[in-house]
Structures are given as structure tokens and as C-alpha cells.
Symmetry: C2
């Protein structure tokens, strides 16, 4: 099978023009098939502040009312996505910016209201693998914004880590997929305060020990859960780390392994 890399970047990179440029430089040096999934960051929150739209978060997940949905659709699928695409084009990368509604790529259902009403948040029900593959085989580098749709005309806001995970899983049917959750730290840290305490290899057992010891924080927990899920579903390799440092061979990040 052909290699394919899925890279997920979050707000920390997007919010900082210098870091974003550094990331895009490193990213455009990748060879082979590539998919980028980007999150949002402060831009949406800043704008919501200016517009008087309140941002509510529960467990690191944004509560998305109608006004917030408009906002994230604009900022994620418009402003951020198209600026990333233009910046990649400037680096000679044939980028194509997409959201889950395009080509019916990622369908989701509005999360049922249980104890919490997350609003217009979508849980992924289907990834259109063939449509994704067709674009990838046309040598396009896909830049995916974490906006999905329900097939009935409703856009939905979906967690970007989850989008990256499900896209990686879907593509692992046809490619040997390497999935990198890139974030500001060099990897999963043994001790949150010590940047040099990166765990090189994180097994399920080790992770569960760390959870018990309270060493995996609420931001990292869903990331590790996504990582183990991806591996269980056929993704070949999963890393949590800093993409730029990894590309510069300054660090190897944390490889998550399913054992």
C-alpha cells in the first residue's frame, strides 16, 4: 500500500502567523500523499467576542449554538481554510480546501441532547472514502476544515481531532496511514511542567497507568483515546507531538502503540 500522512494542527499554530509559516514550510516539504486537518483557535473566539456571541466550552468542546455555528463555518471553512490553501499554493503545493459537506465527504448527526446540549455539534457517521481517494489520487493535498453536515442541509461543528481520526481510519483501507496530532508540546509529557519529559512510546497500559495517576490532563485524554481508536481501526502509525520539531528531527514526538 502507498504511504499517506494525515496531519492535524490546532489553534496554537493557527493563531500565530510565524508558527503557521514555519509549519507550512515544513508541511510543504512532505513528500507523498498528504491530508491536513486544521482546527480553529482563538480567531473564532476573538471574533465571537467582538460580535457579542458567547463561546461556551464543556470538557474542551465548544457548545455550538446557531450563532456560533455561523461563526465557526466562516472562520474554519472560510478564513482559516482558504488562507492555508493560498499559503500552500504559494509553496507550490496543490492544495484543495474542503469541509465535510463538500462532495459529501463527512456526514455527521447532530449530537443527541443528553445531560448537555452541545448544539450544532456533529458526531461523524460516515466518511466518503472513495471521494477522498479520488481527490488524493489527483495529487491534491487536502486541507480539511472540521465542519461536517447531516445530509439534510445542516452544517455541523465537529472536533478537529475526531475529523483527523475518522479520515485517517477511512483512508487506512487504501493507504498505509501515518497520523500525526500536532500540538504545541513535543509529545505526551511524563510531567506536565517538564518539556523534556516526552514519553517516546505510549502503550495502552502506560497510558491507563498515567490516567490513574492523574498525569493525563483533560485536553490530552481525548487525543490519546482518538489515537488508540485509530490504531485499532487500521491506522499504521500514530504520533502525538510537534510536527515542525519532528520534521526537523529535533524530537520524535510520542508514538502511540496499541499494546
Amino acid at each position: 500500500m502507498i504511504d499517506l500522512t494525515v496531519v492535524k494542527i490546532g489553534g496554537n499554530v493557527i493563531d500565530n502567523p510565524e508558527e503557521l509559516n514555519e509549519f507550512l514550510d515544513a508541511f510543504s516539504n512532505l513528500s507523498g500523499k498528504i491530508v491536513l486537518v486544521h482546527g480553529g483557535g482563538k480567531l473564532a473566539s476573538d471574533l465571537s467576542g467582538k460580535l457579542g456571541v458567547k463561546t461556551k466550552m464543556i470538557d474542551g468542546r465548544r457548545i455550538t449554538d446557531a450563532e456560533n455555528l455561523k461563526l465557526v463555518s466562516m472562520v474554519f471553512a472560510g478564513l482559516i481554510n482558504k488562507n492555508i490553501v493560498a499559503a500552500l499554493q504559494a509553496r507550490g503545493v496543490n492544495a484543495l480546501g474542503l469541509c465535510g459537506a463538500d462532495l459529501d465527504l463527512i456526514r455527521a448527526e447532530k449530537r443527541p441532547v443528553d445531560e448537555v446540549d452541545y448544539g450544532f455539534v456533529g458526531d461523524i457517521t460516515n466518511v466518503n472514502t472513495l471521494a477522498l481517494c479520488k481527490q488524493i489520487e489527483c495529487n491534491s493535498v487536502l486541507a480539511i476544515a472540521p465542519i461536517t453536515h447531516d445530509g439534510q442541509g445542516q452544517l455541523l461543528n465537529t472536533n478537529a481531532d475526531t475529523v483527523a481520526t475518522e479520515v485517517a481510519v477511512a483512508l487506512s483501507r487504501f493507504y498505509k496511514v501515518k497520523l500525526i496530532y500536532s500540538f504545541e508540546k513535543l509529545g505526551v509529557l511524563m510531567s506536565a511542567e517538564d518539556e523534556s519529559s516526552v514519553i517516546p512510546v505510549l502503550s495502552k497500559e502506560k497510558c491507563s497507568d498515567m490516567v490513574t495517576a492523574g498525569k493525563i490532563n483533560t485536553g490530552m485524554l481525548p487525543k490519546t483515546q482518538n489515537a488508540f481508536y485509530a490504531l485499532a481501526k487500521g491506522v499504521e502509525e500514530v504520533y502525538i507531538g510537534n510536527f515542525v520539531s519532528m520534521e526537523k528531527h529535533q524530537s520524535s514526538g510520542t508514538q502511540v502503540i496499541n499494546s
Copy 2:
């Protein structure tokens, strides 16, 4: 050559949910190859008002400073584009939302500052016809937002009529293209106040007579200029009218002819 229809819709349709639905119903009934180009409308102005970003217009063209560029990138390429795509998907249409930066589809150069500084406004220099055709041949219905790029990473704001025109011209190398500029009126009117005075066929001569008589207003003038340019450059048929009425056979719009 295979038939292809390029439909351009403007703000009047986008601003009104009912009209937009009616348009999308009619649009999704079209058979064959289709490209939709949409403008912006009041959404961007409304938002700019809320954000305290000033909108300046000269000759019906928006002056685009850095803040306005952010705004139109968000609203046109994000909010409007993705909602149209989701709405088309709900109607069983395999829509793909794009802007000019995607796949390097539409390059532009920042308009040189002469008497007026239009800001981040892009004049189209190249349409990537092959990339467009590839997507069209994959049976995607393209929905194009009028945001272009300069190839150096800069997004630019381009008039939607111009985008529709240049896309239609580019595609006329490979398809028999019908171009429809859809707007709120039933066609070019002989008398602005009389909705029933639609001119069925508008020749160059007739148009120039009307311009001389002051009967073509400043909003219509660039549309007719675009229409004649499109015909001169190989587009097969050009109409100015109301797409929904035309599809319902309630009116035929104004056919612009190059003679």
C-alpha cells in the same frame, strides 16, 4: 462538445432564505455539467456593521481593505459557500465548494492603485481550466466563491460576475457553455420601472443605443460588458435574467447576442 451551464447568483438570492431555497430547487433540477458562481450580498455588510468594519463601494465595487478581505473570505468562501454546498447535497447534488485559491483555480493580481485604491481586489490573470475540467468530469457540481489568490499566498476579492465570466470563457474551450447572470429582475428592462419591459434579445447595437439614452444603469452596465466579452471569447449563449423564472418557463430573460 458537451453542454455546460454556468449560473451566477447575486446577493438578492443569498440574502433571502426562501428565494435561496427556490433557487436551489430549480438549480438542482438542471441536468448536465453545471458550475455555480455566487456573490455575497448583505451578509458581509451586516457583519461588517456589527464588527465596526466599514464597507466602502465605488461604482458598485467593494473597496477591500485588510479587515474587509477577512470578512469576505469568511462570509463568501465559508458561510455562504458551505451552506450552499450542504443545501445542494441535501438535494442529491454532488456539490464541491471552491474558491480561486483551491487547486490554483483562479489567479489574480492585486489591482494597481491608480485614481482609486481598491485594496485587496484581484483582477483575474489565469483560470486553471484543466483543474476545473477534472473536477467537472468527476461529476461534481462546482460552487465557486469569488475569492481569488495571487499565487504568493494573498487572497483577493474579485467581482462575482467577473469570476463567472472568466470561468465560462475558460470552459468554453472544452464545453458548449451557456452562461446565465441571474438577478432579481426578469431581464434587462427597456424601462427600469416596468418589470414587463424585458428586452428578449439584446444586441451590441441596441445596448449601445440604450447606454447613450441613459437606460442602462451603473449596476447593469458591467453585466452587459461581461456578457459581450464572454460571447466574444467563445461562450455559446449568454442570458441576463431570473434563473428561477427561466427554469419555470415563466420568462426567457434577456439573451445577449454578439452582433
